[in-house]
């Protein structure tokens, strides 16, 4: 009988698996599993973003390449006043342009080289003549220091006086350039046409010296083609000059001259920038064709430059076959166009160049320094943009190749900074490498990979699972908390009941 009575008052809460602590452990273990899994989930779903050396990029700050320039004045020592005057007037202006100047008086003939120049008074008249890296003039004693410093300023930093249109004309730096020569007949079947040209000879005769001069900066690939039908996209203006009908291109026409829809000038095989040189033969209907100035008056010019694109020369009524000698004029125009497209500075007024090269060493040095500085600044800005972009867009992956390119570019930039003191050529090489690497990093296709997979998409997939799983877990926790609080309250009530009467104030507080 007693057994039956025991069975009836059996309490399931006394079973081991029904104990309150077991239950709490179960709930806790679920939550611990979830908490431990969260980092793993985070890791597997997050985008691979390697950290970029942002502080190193920032530390480049506004640093510029600094090239030393040594000027030696080959005059008697009595004119040392000239050198101090020269130094004081040149120093502040040139150091702004990244040149650190030293001026010596040296009667012996010191060696010249990139960054080492000499001023001598070998002439008997007061004009300026450049020979290699030597500036020759008349008597230095009578020469005001500010006149000399003005000429030197314009020789050493010719780009400061450039207008924006001149600066805009120069093609972006690239160690490899393609020169595409095109003999472009507007309409060969109309009668006025040049069917062939002696291009290889002409390049050999008229351009090779110039191209060789540029070898320290660029490598050139040359290609050429002849086109027999190249219609213009507009109608040239018809004018009547001295009883003859001529056709003119207005300044607006020049800007839309290239009909890229119908002229096949570019090709797709390589990524090197192309400079086009077009010898345009107008059709019989449009010849003779001339260039008009702003007021619609004929000019003597037969050529024009399209900034960063190339040059065009008009040739009216050519023979069917253009021999090398006939191409002399167009090719000397092409040569001038090439010089200005590649950024060779002009000489200051009053200064002549007396040498066999197409342009002087002073100009070449200035160009090399300018290109190095330009590359340095561009590359630094590209790196800053990459860092800013990656910081701004959280979804943007940064792979190993991007990081390596950025680091490579930084190393090259630091090398350029270090070598600028000794050799501007080496600095140019490093800055060009930095530019290549930084642009490659910037345009890395991997950085766009996950940009188009929005987070909303992810949560739409996760929500049906996570919401359904988390709800009972949260409910279990709430229930446990409520049970625990209830148990505490009961325990407190029980304690209060035993001490009732003796300490009523305490009971009130427990409630």
């Amino acid at each position: 009988m007693a057994d039956v009575g025991n069975a009836l008052v059996f309490d399931p809460a006394k079973l081991t698996f029904e104990s309150i602590w077991t239950r709490r452990k179960i709930v806790a273990s679920y939550w611990i599993a979830i908490l431990l899994a969260t980092p793993l989930w985070w890791k597997t779903t997050s985008i691979d973003r390697l950290s970029l050396p942002g502080s190193r990029v920032r530390s480049l700050g506004s640093r510029e390449l600094l090239f030393p320039v040594d000027i030696a004045i080959a005059t008697p020592a009595a004119h040392s006043r000239l050198s101090t005057d020269l130094l004081t007037s040149l120093q502040p202006a040139l150091s702004e342009q990244g040149l650190s100047v030293t001026v010596d008086v040296d009667e012996t003939i010191p060696s010249t080289g990139p960054g080492k120049y000499r001023i001598s008074s070998r002439l008997h008249e007061s004009k300026w003549v450049l020979q290699d890296r030597e500036l020759c003039t008349g008597d230095l004693a009578t020469l005001p220091a500010n006149q000399l410093s003005d000429v030197l300023m314009r020789l050493l930093t010719p780009y400061t006086s450039w207008s924006s249109s001149e600066a805009h004309r120069v093609v972006k730096y690239s160690p490899r350039l393609r020169l595409a020569f095109t003999l472009l007949n507007e309409d060969a079947s109309s009668g006025a046409a040049a069917i062939s040209w002696e291009l290889e000879n002409s390049v050999q005769n008229y351009l090779n010296v110039t191209l060789d001069r540029f070898l320290v900066l660029h490598n050139f690939t040359i290609e050429s083609q002849v086109q027999f039908h190249a219609p213009l996209a507009f109608q040239p203006r018809t004018l009547d000059v001295d009883g003859q009908t001529v056709h003119g291109l207005t300044q607006e026409d020049l800007t839309v001259f290239v009909n890229s829809a119908e002229w096949t000038l570019s090709s797709s095989v390589s990524n090197d920038p192309v400079l086009h040189f077009v010898l345009f033969i107008p059709s019989a209907e449009h010849s003779p064709l001339y260039i008009l100035d702003q007021n619609g008056v004929l000019t003597s010019s037969d050529a024009f430059i399209l900034p960063q694109w190339g040059g065009i020369v008009l040739l009216n009524n050519p023979p069917y076959h253009l021999t090398t000698s006939m191409l002399h004029n167009p090719f000397s125009t092409f040569r001038h166009q090439l010089l200005s497209l590649l950024g060779v500075p002009g000489l200051p007024p009053g200064v002549e160049y007396d040498g066999s090269e197409p342009f002087s060493d002073w100009q070449l040095d200035a160009l090399v320094r300018h290109r190095a500085q330009e590359n340095f600044v561009n590359s630094r800005e590209t790196l800053n943009s990459i860092v800013a972009l990656v910081k701004q867009i959280d979804n943007m992956p940064v792979g190993r190749d991007v990081r390596d390119d950025v680091q490579g570019a930084l190393t090259a930039l630091n090398n350029a900074l270090a070598t600028a003191r000794s050799s501007s050529m080496t600095a140019l090489k490093y800055s060009s490498e930095a530019l290549t690497l930084s642009s490659r990093a910037f345009f890395n296709p991997g950085m766009l990979a996950l940009l188009y997979f929005p987070a909303e998409h992810k949560y739409a997939v996760y929500a049906p699972l996570f919401a359904a799983v988390v709800a009972p877990l949260v409910a279990a926790i709430l229930r446990e908390v409520m049970v625990w609080r209830k148990a505490r309250r009961e325990a407190a009530a029980a304690t209060a009941a035993t001490t009732r009467g003796t300490q009523p104030a305490q009971r009130q507080r427990v409630d």
Binding site: M1, E18, A188, I195, H229, L473, A476
Partner: protein
Amino acid sequence: MILDYRNTLLVILSLCSCQVTANLFPESFDEELVLRPERDGRLVSRFAFTTVLDGAYPRDPETLGLEDHAQHYTLFPLALGQLLREYAITELHLTLNAGKWNYENWGYPEEFGVGTGAELWAWMGDAGPMSVDERWTGLRNALAGLFCASLGSLDDQRTTSPTLTFRPEGHLPQHNYSYQLRHATLPSEHVCTENLTPFLKLLPCKSLSGIASLLNPHRLFDADWHGLGIHVRYVRDTGVEVRLSFQAVFDPVRYSSDKKRGTITFDWSLHSLFDRTIDRSCPVAQSSKIFIRASNEDSAKLSPEPTTSDKHSVIFDVLKTPKPLDIAMTWPDEPVFQYPLSPPPSALTHLAIQRTLTGPNQSRGHLTVSITNNEAVPIKAGYLETMPWLLQFYLHSLKVTSNGTPREDLVSIVSYVPPVPHARPALLQALISLPANSTVVLTMDVVKPFLRYTEHPPDAQRGWDLPPAVFIPFGVDGEDLGARTGSNHSGNPRHDGRLHRLYSPTLLVDLATPDFSMPYNVIIMSCTLIALIFGSVFNLLTRKFVIVSLRPETPKVVE
């Protein structure tokens, strides 16, 4: 007066151009148009623009790492020349076609590459720093950019090397390395105006003068069949030759009914076909000729008078005829066109091919190829299937019957490269002996694989186009058969040693296509199940069991 002056000038001009040899390699440009009236009222036209770079060699792949010599061209297309040198391509053939070539009525095409869609094949020397496959990839992408076509999709899943059927059409320069063939087809690619525009830009005279001025996209793409081709080959003792070709099959009967209601004639003129005439000749063309293949017994009248004629065709020399030139062909004896209901008296091709894919379901099927020998002599034929892994052959189930009797001995398999799913197509090359005037039927079981979710194209329900099979009729001794005898379309001088190639029509295979919202359904479904199971297990683990007594409290204990 002015016109006369112009014409003389042009003649002088064209004479000059032939002698101009200022550049590294003398270049010459020839253009021709072949027009061929067919018995079913269609007019087959073929434009060919051939530029020869005299004395030039294809680039030696061993020099690929080095600086290439400067490229100077007068007539040769620079864009194509750069591409050939960049990847050291010895021979290149690209065709983009739309429509099904009707061999039964139209005979052999003037250009053999008439397979539907895009077909690209190239021979390359296997040497140097870049592998053949790297160059093949580069070539395909460069051509895709040049011709605005999706040739980039001719990837490894489409690329084979069928040397039996695609032999070099020119010569391969002798070197101490071997040459390799790469071939790929994309039957679903369609040719359209955006492909013709870059094609015309490669021509010296664009579409502005000479025969090319007839290439009017509005009419060309309205034709029943049309396709363009670029063929580059090296010919020993001549040089590198580029042939740009355009073929179109017009239906003059359709155009005539447009204009003159009631009278349906076969008469045509250049103007009625192309909506253009030749107003001026191309100043740099060495020759510019229009061939009209017409048999002597034909009662057709031609205007103007042709310049010359030979055994197979009448010839107009565009350089010499007065402009504008509008050739017209009329049949005065046949005022109303009668469609021929009887089959042609003699077959126009050596072989007639039918290929069908049967089978009711999406997992298995049968491929049936029936080849008819139209000759009175036995023929051997090369048979090529370059099948993407979308259709896999059970080669052991191959059955061959000839006129109803099993003849397993007729087929000998030259090579079979099995497909690798998701990676490589199958390549089947076989030689078939065809008894005289008989039909050989090949049947084979095929299996259709399952595709991955991401491998389906955007219009997945449409099915997949399968590339055409290619046949080459050889003589019994393996030699080229030469021209089809008994046909008036024979003796095309341009075929110079090329083997005839016949393309079967393409097939469409219907693969198992999923419901594309399925991944989301699966996600939701499995999430629901997991949540359900998780909920019940968790509930069971944390449930608190209590005894609820239903009887009144402390019943009396009965002794």
